[in-house]
């Protein structure tokens, strides 16, 4: 752990703190899963340890699927931290509203292709939000935060993954959430194929109806 200098806190998330640091002369990101005082110590350790080990594994799997994720340099399960490559760029969350309609569309299609590559490879991200997508300075799109990712190929899991994306769009970018989601699904179907994409879309609708207070369900059951 020597030769590590914290330069700046990038983000204090719910689950982890992301620090920009200098490590052996290289700019890196340190993701530390801090102790959660509100959680029972045993439960806390179990959750943090599992996610610290699991996350780099899934990021590696994602790379094999052709999805850009930061390079992992070190995993430390004693201090519950991961040292990884720093991506120079901006979160999609902050970019979306600044873009022209066409550029926004392109970006969303690209997001869709990334999700499809992941899903085709049997990976579910688990927290697909625009905060977890970073566009680097060379316009390459990176997917980060695999803390809740899982290896599943089930339709249900794919549906939930995209359902969360849709809901996230509705709650943070409501002005153009519909277009964005349609574009994402377009990109998705281009990579994963129309047959599967249609099934996933149907699943998403089913998941939405399953929600506790959904008007569509009432109409359907009539």
């Amino acid at each position: 752990m020597d030769k590590l200098v914290i330069l700046k806190q990038l983000k204090k998330g719910a689950e982890a703190t992301i620090n920009l640091s200098n490590w052996y002369g290289k700019k890196v990101v340190i993701k530390s899963r801090n102790l959660k005082k509100y959680r029972h110590p045993q439960l806390d350790e179990k959750i943090r340890k599992f996610r610290t080990i699991h996350e780099p594994q899934l990021m590696h799997e994602a790379k094999k699927a052709g999805v850009s994720t930061p390079i992992i340099f070190l995993v430390d399960t004693k201090n519950m931290l991961i040292i990884m490559e720093f991506i120079h760029g901006e979160q999609v969350k902050h970019i979306l509203k600044k873009l022209s309609k066409d550029k926004r569309q392109n970006l969303c299609v690209k997001i869709g292709t990334i999700v499809a590559k992941l899903h085709s490879h049997g990976i579910i991200h688990g927290d697909l939000t625009t905060s977890n997508l970073i566009l680097n300075d060379h316009h390459k799109l990176f997917l980060v935060d695999f803390g809740l990712a899982e290896k599943i190929s089930e339709l249900e899991a794919r549906g939930v993954d995209l359902h969360l994306m849709k809901r996230g769009l509705e709650s943070t970018h409501n002005q153009f959430s519909k277009d964005c989601f349609n574009d994402i699904m377009y990109g998705y179907s281009k990579v994963i194929g129309e047959t599967i994409a249609k099934k996933v879309l149907k699943k998403i609708q089913e998941i939405e109806r399953r929600g506790r207070y959904i008007e569509e369900r009432k109409i359907k059951s009539k």
């Binding site: 983000k11 204090k12 998330g13 719910a14 689950e15 959660k36 005082k37 509100y38 959680r39 029972h40 045993q42 439960l43 806390d44 179990k46 959750i47 688990g126 927290d127 697909l128 939000t129 905060s131 809740l148 939930v160 969360l164 809901r167 996230g168 509705e170 709650s171 943070t172 409501n174 002005q175 399953r210 929600g211 506790r212 207070y213 959904i214 008007e215 369900r217 009432k218």
Partner: protein
Amino acid sequence: MINSLNELYCLGIESTADDFGVGISTGGGKIIANVSNGYIPEEGGIHPREAARHHAKVASEVLSKTLVQAGIKSSDLDLIAFSQGPGLGPCLRTGATIARAIAAYLNIPLIGVNHSIAHIEIGKLETNAKDPVTLYVSGGNTIISAFNSGRYRVFGETLDIALGNCLDVFSREAGLKHERRIPLGAALEKLALEGKNLVSLPYVVKGMDVSFSGLLTAALNLLNQKRYRLQDLCYSLQETTFAMVCEVTERALAHTEKKEILLTGGVAANKRLQYMLSLIAKDHGARFNTVPLKFATDNGAMIAWTGLLAYKNGIVTPNEKSMVKLKWRLDRIDIPWIN
């Protein structure tokens, strides 16, 4: 004009589930009466039709008590608000019928209110929270929401049963009794205080959503195996489920960068949950507010106050649009009273 709006009296009727509540609020946000009568099943959970029968039976008594408490006559009322959904059909319809009848008799406007939004609005009124991330946890709801561009948005919710439902079913199966004024959750909380060992239960957080049904089954299986002390199981159930909703709340707080947490709903009475959330708030430099119990559980005052907010913004519900909405999501409603 402002003054006269502040002097309005609105009577609110709440009947989404087991409680029949009536409250009166002034336009200025003063709650001058809040009376409630809860249906307690002889065994098992709430039977919707039995609960509705109970509401119809106690309605006139609760209504007169409310007027006495407020010290006004029915002719002084300016508005009638009622919870239009979400909730149990027979219960909702009983409240709605009463509300329509009173509004027609007094010839005053009727306002249909969303139950979940009412919980948030009364919580804000009572705790002075301005723009919180709200964790609403009760027997029927588990919702993490915050205001964003015109509406309350859902940042997380249960994918199956509500947190209170999970705790209630477990308590009932464990033989705890629903005594008058002492809810099952309180009995569980008391036992959990004597728990020492954490028993491993599934921890199910999917993105911002939570799921309790598998966890409940696992807990019930452990209960039937009789391998663990009941105290330890209650303790573990609370620790695990609360950690789940806390994680999601913290995530919503980090995502929205808001500076307040509001805890409401029946489960808000739990001291352990309150403490856990207060730690999260402290960690994020946010203010933590728990809604006082009489306004956190289902009550008529919250419906009255939210009805007023709507009315002040020109919203009334004509009779033909006053049918109840069993699955009315809070994120489907425009909120004109917040800028």
